[in-house]
């Protein structure tokens, strides 16, 4: 596990979350890009990376959201470990399998958060199933984009570099 990579992935997820959520405040377009970053770290670098990514991302989100610090941290830690263990036990190399993992983790994470809030508040709040469905879909889509980008981008950068090198070598100085 590379700590710097985990921190970068979580930070990117958090910055994108806050920048894009500005356009969907109070609406039904719910998404959690930090959770997507946690699942990405878990599937890419294993359960321990997922666990630390979940702890870090969840605690920072809790600190910024004004709620009890630790609820999101615990939920995302569980989500990160679950995704990491799923990545080691099942073959999740295809795009569809990764999207399914993100979707399953999203549903589990949301239910866990609702349960933890019910314990803390001592009252059961309504679950917005439609919002959960939208969140699952959008997180899955974001996960697909993230995984495809991580596969395609290094290849694109390498081929661009090679193209530049070959054009330089043809020159006569």
């Amino acid at each position: 596990m590379n700590v710097a990579r985990v921190v970068i992935v979580v930070t990117v997820g958090l910055v994108l979350q806050m920048a894009l959520a500005r356009y969907s405040v109070g609406g039904r377009w719910v998404f959690d890009l930090v959770l997507v970053a946690v699942v990405y770290a878990a599937l890419a670098w294993g359960p321990i990376a997922g666990m630390w990514a979940g702890t870090l991302g969840g605690l920072v989100q809790d600190s910024l959201s004004g709620d009890v610090v630790g609820i999101g941290g615990l939920a995302k830690t569980v989500a990160g470990v679950s995704a990491g263990v799923a990545g080691t036990q099942f073959i999740v190399s295809s795009g569809a399998a990764r999207v399914a993992t993100v979707a399953a983790v999203t549903v589990g994470h949301r239910l866990l958060v609702v349960a933890l809030l019910a314990i803390v508040d001592q009252r059961w709040s309504d679950v917005d199933w439609l919002a959960m469905l939208v969140e699952t879909g959008l997180n899955g889509l974001a996960g697909l984009i993230a995984f495809q980008a991580s596969v395609l981008l290094p290849g694109a950068v390498r081929s661009t570099r090679e193209l530049r090198r070959s054009s330089l070598s043809k020159r006569r100085w």
């Binding site: 920048a19 405040v25 610090v69 470990v81 709040s125 919002a131």
Partner: protein, 272 residues
């Protein structure tokens, strides 16, 4: 197998620490102000940057590319301005008459509260948090617990300590938000709370003997010391039977929380 055991032990330890952290706050109800302030301080500057980049893109699109229909819109706006000028003059006449009556009756004149316009630069850090970040902070005179309003009504309040150029606003529709309120005609007092589902606002502890009508407007009563009296919160959508001598009302918010771009911070400090 060794790796699995190590992961499992790590997981148990971390989960236990999280539970301890949560328990400490639930007992003290004080939150983690230092951690929250530090996290917000770090991310506020990043939010300014990302918001600036997004606004630049939006501005380029709106001012140079998407200009179709601007002339027609301009004509419509001119007509609208004319109509509004008429309404403003009529309102000014009413205000003048009211002031004269207040003078005659020696009533305390209603004060116009000072406000500060602010732009929304970031949304929910976590889904369902119902928090926005604005680009005004302590350097502009923004302080914790100042009310934030829109052109239609109450939006929320400033919470946590603002940084120099950014502050977080807790939306009234949020799970942990509340405001003291009163209905317009029946004068039923109560507490408006967020997180009620659909519609998102609920007015609790309303005297069951008060005859509240559906469609009646609900305003801030000023009793909480945060929201000054007289700001519109929403309209009554339906009444729900509460417990004992109280009934609960479901309110449709006056503000469309999905369209928050510019807000006004009411520069009045919290009344003790």
């Amino acid at each position: 197998m060794d790796s699995f055991r190590r992961t499992f032990v790590f997981f148990i330890v971390l989960s236990f620490l999280h539970v301890l952290l949560i328990s400490a706050q639930v007992q003290s109800r004080s939150g983690m102000p230092v951690i929250k302030a530090a996290a917000f301080g770090v991310f506020a500057s990043i939010q300014h940057l990302t918001s600036g980049i997004a606004d630049l893109g939006q501005s380029f699109w709106a001012n140079y590319i998407a200009l179709r229909g601007v002339a027609a819109e301009n004509d419509q706006l001119k007509k609208r301005v004319l109509a509004l000028e008429g309404i403003t003059q009529a309102q000014a006449a009413i205000v003048s008459q009211t002031n004269e009556l207040e003078d005659l009756l020696r009533l305390q004149q209603s004060l116009v509260v000072p406000t500060l316009a602010a732009r929304v630069i970031a949304g929910d850090p976590a889904p369902g948090a119902d928090i926005i970040t604005i680009d005004r902070g302590s350097a502009d005179g923004v302080e914790p617990d100042m009310a934030v309003i829109g052109h239609n009504g109450v939006i929320g309040r400033v919470f946590n300590r603002p940084t120099a150029h950014a502050a977080q606003v807790q939306l009234l529709k949020g799970r942990l938000a509340a405001a003291a309120a009163v209905t317009e005609q029946s004068l039923a007092a109560g507490i408006v709370q967020g997180g009620a589902g659909d519609p998102p606002l609920e007015m609790n502890f309303v005297d069951v003997l008060r005859d509240v009508e559906v469609g009646e407007r609900v305003y801030t009563s000023g009793l909480d010391g945060i929201y000054p009296r007289g700001f519109l919160i929403g309209t009554v959508q339906r009444a729900v039977k509460g417990s004992g001598f109280y009934s609960d009302l479901r309110l449709l918010p006056a503000v469309d929380f999905r369209r928050l771009d510019v807000v006004l911070v009411v520069l009045v400090k919290r009344q003790p």
